[in-house]
């Protein structure tokens, strides 16, 4: 075989392998079942992480707690794909599923981006104390650069909080300065690690009895969430 033919075949094969690997990594691992099998809820070796652990430990939540489906987001306030989800997809999920009582949404911190992420997580919990977590969530993701590029992250986070209507800033500032939630990010991240979640954003869609959990890894479009949520709601 001529050297040029070998070279041509090599390039084409390399291209095909490259695309295959990428598609395998992302498409193959996109949906998983971290809590057990689809029919029976928790598996034996993962039973220590129960549905209650996910839903009843003071994590920020929106929607009806008795909704048939719970959507848990594991995110980091410095992650750009989480920001895309918060800007593009979450408002549509809120409008169509949370507001209508079909879905209850919970946020958990999965931080990999260093101390600024820990600080943002802690500040968001301070906003949650005043039932303003979701306002702050949208502000942080919409204006990510303002605290990510700031030399004084704490002040930047406080400035962003001042945009929230009805937030007691004095209370918020003292909560942030006092480090009331300085370990929340580590605690949530530990839980995510135990579930095998490494990437942000990761979503867990689970029925209210803890059965049929499904995982989505990535900033999926609304259409994908709609497909999965409609299927799960139909199955309840």
């Amino acid at each position: 075989m001529k050297r040029s033919t070998v070279y041509s075949l090599g390039i084409i094969t390399a291209g095909v392998v490259l695309v295959g690997v990428i598609v395998y990594i992302f498409a193959g691992g996109a949906t998983r079942n971290p809590l057990g099998n689809n029919n029976g809820g928790l598996s034996a070796n993962q039973s220590r992480i129960s549905f209650e652990t996910l839903t009843s430990d003071g994590s920020p939540a929106q929607g009806d707690p008795s909704a048939p489906i719970t959507l848990v987001e594991f995110g980091d306030f410095q992650c750009e794909f989480c920001a895309r989800f918060a800007k593009e997809t979450e408002p549509r999920i809120y409008q169509n599923y949370i507001k209508t009582g079909k879905v209850n949404m919970i946020f958990k911190h999965l931080v990999h981006y260093g101390s600024d992420s820990d600080l943002a997580a802690s500040a968001s919990q301070c906003a949650n104390d005043q039932d303003k977590f979701w306002d702050y969530y949208h502000i942080l993701y919409t204006d990510q650069d303002s605290f990510m590029l700031s030399h004084d992250t704490s002040s930047a986070l406080k400035n962003l909080a001042s945009k929230i209507d009805g937030l007691d800033l004095q209370k918020f500032d003292s909560c942030v300065d006092g480090g009331a939630y300085k370990d929340i990010a580590k605690k949530d991240t530990k839980l995510a690690d135990a579930l095998g979640f490494r990437d942000t954003p990761t979503f867990l869609i689970v029925k209210s009895d803890g059965s049929s959990p499904q995982t989505l890894v990535g900033a999926y479009p609304f259409a994908t969430f709609k497909g999965l949520l409609d299927k799960e709601i139909g199955d309840v």
Partner: protein, 174 residues
């Protein structure tokens, strides 16, 4: 004036080389195949294209600039690689010149450079905080890096097309 003339000549040379390539079915197919492969890879990494649980594609506002740039990169990548294969298969080169390889390899590196901005997703989960720092850096310079890679690919395309069109020139007996 000299600059305009040389620019026109360069564009002309790229046009001729591209039409030579597209007139050959095999090389046109290679070009389209490579462009499509890179388009898929870029859009999967940019989290615009999903295969599971459903085939889905969406284009949010924040992704528009990178989407346009990755389309350009994919097409250029297809052209550069296919053109280099064409040169290797059809021209009787006594030896493969270093410049041709540098053109191809630069094109490859530059496209990898463009995709590494999208690879931040993998970097963070694989390398933890160090990966996150690298990822932040890549995200902040995503657009300039992609523009730089397009610049390198255009240069690679120009050098390949010059090689291709120069081989067709009839030397002046004088």
């Amino acid at each position: 004036m000299i600059l305009v003339n040389s620019l026109t000549a360069s564009i002309g040379s790229i046009k001729i080389a591209t039409s030579m390539l597209l007139n050959n079915r095999v090389h046109a197919a290679i070009m389209i195949g490579i462009a499509v492969a890179f388009w898929i890879a870029f859009n999967v990494l940019d989290q615009l294209l999903f295969f599971s649980p459903f085939l889905d594609f969406y284009l949010p506002n924040d992704a528009l600039p990178t989407f346009v740039l990755s389309n350009v990169t994919s097409v250029l990548m297809g052209l550069v690689v296919s053109m280099n294969i064409y040169i290797l298969r059809n021209l009787k080169l006594k030896k493969i010149s270093a410049s041709m390889f540098s053109g191809t390899s630069l094109g490859m590196i530059s496209s990898a450079c463009a995709s590494c901005t999208a690879l931040s997703f993998l970097l963070v989960s694989t390398f933890g905080v160090a990966g996150a720092v690298a990822s932040n850096l890549l995200s902040n310079f995503q657009i300039p890096l992609r523009l730089m890679s397009i610049g390198l690919l255009i240069w690679a395309l120009y050098s390949s097309s010059r090689k291709l069109t120069a081989s067709c020139m009839i030397s002046n007996p004088d």
